[in-house]
Amino acid sequence: MKLLEVVGLEAGYGPTTVLRGLDFEVAEGGVTTLLGANGAGKTTTLRAICGMIPVRGQITLAGQRIDGRATEDIVRAGIAHVPDGRGTFMELTVEENMRLGAYTRRDRQIRPDFERMFGYFPRLKQRFRQQAGTLSGGEQQMLAIARALLLRPKLLLLDEPSFGLAPLIVREIFEIMRRINSEDGVGILVVEQNANLALSFADRAYLLETGRIVRAGPADELGRDEAIRRAYLGY
């Protein structure tokens, strides 16, 4: 079963084409990673899926076409995006940031879900009434993930969750992502500079070079690939 299926995705900024026909997928309950150097088009791919830039090609979420729809509708269809830069509402409190995460929901499980997030990220509970702009980078990343999960998404898009964070915090965050994936069955599409980390976390991997997919396959298989090892894993 495919949770997300992307066929012939093309996108760019103004006259510049960045993505030149991508095909990839995320399995139901699966973790897919997009690898590639700076400027390969990883962040652009996530933005394209969320409808933040105009796209050509087909994007299907759980059998439902979402390409060409407004970001708000794609989000409501079940995609939560943790953007690069984390997208924190700096002027608002941690509590308000979390309430915004659950903005589209009307059910009564929001408070229990807050407690669940505190279970994953106890520091958010300590900082609950604090202005989000005063959080450290790691705490903002935790807040961004909590905000995304409070949407109760089917698919979570993560843009470089390790960026700028201490190794210990990166490990903690990936550990929690793994729990979320296995316990709640949330599919994950993660873009990472740290290929080692991404390949050990994902079950499927794609290698992007200047807007094209040049290698695709199971993550462990790509991890053994000679060329990838040399270019991206550094050994």
Partner: protein
């Protein structure tokens, strides 16, 4: 001494009106980073609507409610129809639309209800209260203003929609990513601003009398108040509005006289821009250009 107290109290009463209009300006400024020059003329138009309903035989408070609701709808429609297409346009294009709106509202108010000055009723009576320091209308309009400000505060601080509107103003990209319909939040902001302006118009009209240019001077005072408090801070705008009301009254009574009162607003604007451009409570905005 009694004279001074009287001047301060009635300064607070008109300051409340400036505070409301300043708040309306700040609401649109926060969401769009533009100052709606037509805010005053829209309020005047609303006030004429109210007078029309009263003359049609509606009780005062019924006319009040109908006017507020219609003004809200008008604000939403203006944003959807006129401002939406300007979303990515340069600042000057938006300014052009604001000035166009100002002229359209001013002229159509005059065309529909003519240019003669009209009296506007007050539901509070004109009896002097508190030993003659303040009139019934001044006290009543101050109370109405405070209720409006309190409602706005509660709305933005405690409701889901209010939170979404603040989020959309601060960070539209992230707001879309949590499913907030940012475009509608802008429209809602326009609606609220128009509704607040309508209340301000109905509260000030019994004092200054109703004519198509009624809000011209008031918008200037309100703008001075918004700048004084900090155009990025709703609370600052409210405090600034009240302050300008008191300053205006005291200076008018003891220093410059009534003829020069309006230039005082300009003096405040220039002084704030020179000495502390972010105002008393505003943030300094840094932009890369």
């Amino acid at each position: 001494m009694a004279g001074l107290l009287h001047q301060i109290l009635s300064g607070l009463a008109t300051g409340g009106i400036y505070a409301s209009v300043a708040l309306a300006l700040v609401m649109i400024y926060q969401a769009t980073h533009h100052v709606n020059f037509a805010q005053g003329e829209m309020a005047t138009f609303s006030t004429y609507l109210a007078l029309m309903f009263i003359n049609l035989g509606l009780p005062y408070w019924a006319a009040f409610v109908v006017t507020v609701v219609l003004s809200f709808a008008l604000g939403v429609v203006i944003e959807r129809v006129l401002m939406r297409p300007m979303a990515n346009a340069p600042v000057l294009a938006s300014v052009g639309v604001f000035i166009g709106l100002l002229l359209i509202f001013n002229a159509s108010t005059g065309a529909i209800w003519d240019y003669t000055t009209k009296a506007f009723p007050t539901p509070f009576g004109d009896r002097p209260l508190l030993g003659g320091y303040i009139s019934g209308h001044e006290l009543g309009s101050t109370a109405v203003t405070l209720v409006v400000l309190l409602l706005v505060y509660v709305f933005f601080r405690y409701t889901r929609l209010g939170l979404a509107m603040r989020a959309a103003a601060y960070n539209p990209v992230s707001s879309r990513l949590v499913g907030v319909r940012v475009g509608w939040m802008l429209a809602l902001g326009w609606g609220l601003a128009a509704a607040i302006g309508a209340v301000a118009g109905m509260m000030v009209a019994p004092i200054v009398f109703l004519d198509p240019n009624m809000m011209g001077g008031i918008l200037l005072y309100a703008f001075a108040g918004a700048l004084l408090g900090g155009i990025t801070s709703p609370l600052g705008a409210v405090i600034g509005g009240f302050s300008v009301g008191v300053i205006e009254n005291l200076a008018g009574a003891y220093i410059v006289g009534t003829e020069l009162k309006l230039s005082l607003a300009l003096v405040i604007i220039v002084a704030v821009l020179v000495i502390r451009p972010s105002g008393l409570m505003g943030r300094t905005i840094v932009a890369r250009v």
